[in-house]
């Protein structure tokens, strides 16, 4: 099962086994990792699962879709590698993925 690394704003690191087909958001929720709120449960409606994809991984993860891009633009402190983690589907390719979580989702 792919391992995803979550790094919180204060530097605390967690790694979680996340099933292929699940999402980076769901991996955080399943493992009760703080920093991802996911109020809408993954329907790209709330922008409370914002994360920064590690630069080395951004090519593999890919760009956000149009709605997601707009949501990110309005999220707290967006960066060039920002994504909404509910829209990142976990694949074998993403085994080892590193994402950083923002200090706040609001």
């Amino acid at each position: 099962m792919p391992v995803i690394h979550y790094i919180q704003a204060d530097g605390a690191e967690y790694e979680a086994d996340v099933a292929v087909g699940s999402t980076v958001m769901q991996g955080a929720v399943d493992n009760m990792i703080d920093g991802i709120l996911a109020e809408c449960g993954g329907s790209c409606s709330c922008a409370t699962c914002h994360c920064y994809v590690d630069e080395a991984w951004f090519g593999k993860v890919g760009e956000a879709g149009a709605t997601e891009k707009t949501m990110i633009e309005m999220a707290m402190d967006p960066q060039p590698t920002s994504r909404l983690s509910c829209q990142i589907k976990v694949t074998e390719e993403l085994d080892g993925l590193v994402v950083r979580l923002p200090e706040s989702q609001y």
Binding site: D30, M32, E39, C40, M71, E73, M74, A75
Partner: protein, 424 residues
């Protein structure tokens, strides 16, 4: 060891239990739910789950193992019949009595039942739980006597009649159109979403649903449902009749307050809690759809300073507040409500509460396009925004609400102005 019992296994419970651990609760945590399932997402029930795009496992909020890792246990399929606050115990329907140190009522809401003759017929459903939707799917999949999604009455595509043009009814209609059944919505008011939106928004949804092939009948009050064992026709007071292989009734919910009420807790359109989620009994807390709670941020829109919300984000926020209170910390609840509804290609995101508005202004073309914003104002101050396929305006509206900024309505509707600039 100290023990927290959570009654109810919905979104509030699913947030409360892990939040208790995060806040440092070392004692036992037991969730008692009257459904057979660990907490699952309700919003997909009227959407992806209904049309088979998501399975049982895929709508779980998190898998059972995640709760196990945090030493959170469940009693499922169990109904609490009585609270005994003086003894700090509760009684299950089996007669078993369980003691607690802190109790959290996350009892949610149940569908409002309407006393229509014939509503007990086979093929008549309400929609709130996973089992409700399994029943609906089973009826559709079994093809009403073997012919997939075909009507037993006519041999054509099955006819589904939805009673109630609220969000649940509209979302269900959109989901069912995807699988090609005929859908009719019967709404007793003179427009859909009458209770929660401006006429312009109702008009928009009526247009889109008509474009998608849904028959909407307003001012239609159901008088009785006809059928021999299985439903066949829905009759309205006007004399109109609608063929039906399946009827789904979505006319709102009522909060589950009876346990609290019978135990002597204060109840007023919901279990009364303060901003810390505490009920009128000091070691009993409540969170989610079942609560009547204060919200200082909404003082302008509330008549008696309290409200009850049917909302996932609210359930999650209140649960965090209750977790803090139980752990002896203070996290007073004060959030702006927000809601969402996905239908067809429409992503509706609602920021704030529109009740009490005295002005509505529209950004975009709600009459011809599928993208616009209805801004709700009261004495020039923004109360809420219904944003259809306008994620940017939605997030701007959330921020405007939390800052209390005043924006000239002429600007709100001016498409040449980037909504981001409203924040400056």
């Amino acid at each position: 060891m100290q023990k927290v019992i959570i009654i109810g296994s919905g979104h509030a419970a699913a947030q409360l239990a892990p939040s208790l651990r995060k806040q440092g609760w070392k004692g036992e945590i037991l969730i008692i739910g009257d459904e057979a399932y660990i907490p699952y997402q309700r919003p997909p029930l009227s959407k992806e789950f209904m049309v088979g795009k998501k399975t049982d496992d895929e709508i779980l909020i998190r898998p059972l193992s995640a709760y196990g890792q945090h030493d959170i246990s469940f009693k499922l399929n169990e109904t609490v019949v009585k609270l005994n606050p003086l003894e700090n115990t509760l009684t299950l329907s089996t007669g078993e009595s369980i003691g607690y140190d802190r109790l959290a009522l996350c009892t949610g809401a149940r569908t409002r039942k309407i006393p229509i003759p014939g509503s007990e017929l086979e093929g008549v459903f309400y929609l709130r739980t996973i089992d409700d939707v399994k029943g609906i799917k089973h009826t559709l999949d079994a093809g009403i006597k073997g012919r997939a999604k075909k009507s037993v009455n006519t041999g054509d595509s099955a006819n589904v009649v939805i009673v109630g043009g609220g969000y649940i009814g509209l979302e269900t209609a959109a989901a069912l159109r995807k699988i090609g059944v005929h859908v009719t919505i019967l709404e007793m008011q003179d427009r859909v979403l009458a209770r929660v939106t401006a006429p312009e928004v109702s008009e928009f949804y009526q247009r889109v649903h008509a474009e998608e092939g849904v028959q909407i009948h307003i001012d239609s009050i159901v008088s009785h449902i006809e059928g021999e064992g299985q439903v066949s026709v829905v009759h309205c007071k006007s004399g109109e009749r609608f063929d039906a292989d399946l009827v789904i009734i979505g006319v709102g919910v009522v909060p589950n307050v009876e346990l609290a009420e019978e135990a002597g807790l204060l109840v007023d359109n919901g279990i009364v809690v303060d901003e810390f989620g505490q009920t009128s009994v000091s070691n009993i807390f409540a969170a989610g759809d079942c609560t009547s709670h204060p919200n200082a941020l909404l003082a302008d829109s509330l008549t008696n300073g309290r409200l009850r919300l049917e909302s996932v984000p609210n359930a999650m926020e209140q649960a965090k507040t209750v977790a803090a209170s139980i752990c002896g910390q203070s996290l007073p609840y004060a959030s702006y409500p927000w809601f969402w509804s996905d239908q067809y290609d429409l992503k509706l995101q609602i920021a704030g509460l529109s009740q009490g508005f005295d002005q509505v202004v529209i950004r975009g073309d709600h009459k011809n396009s599928r993208s616009f914003v209805a801004w709700y104002l009261k004495q020039g101050k923004l109360l809420a925004a219904d944003c259809v396929n306008r994620p940017k305006e939605f997030l701007v509206a959330k921020k405007l609400l939390s800052r209390g900024d005043i924006v000239d309505p002429d600007k709100l509707v001016d498409e040449s102005i980037d909504p981001k600039t409203f924040l400056q």
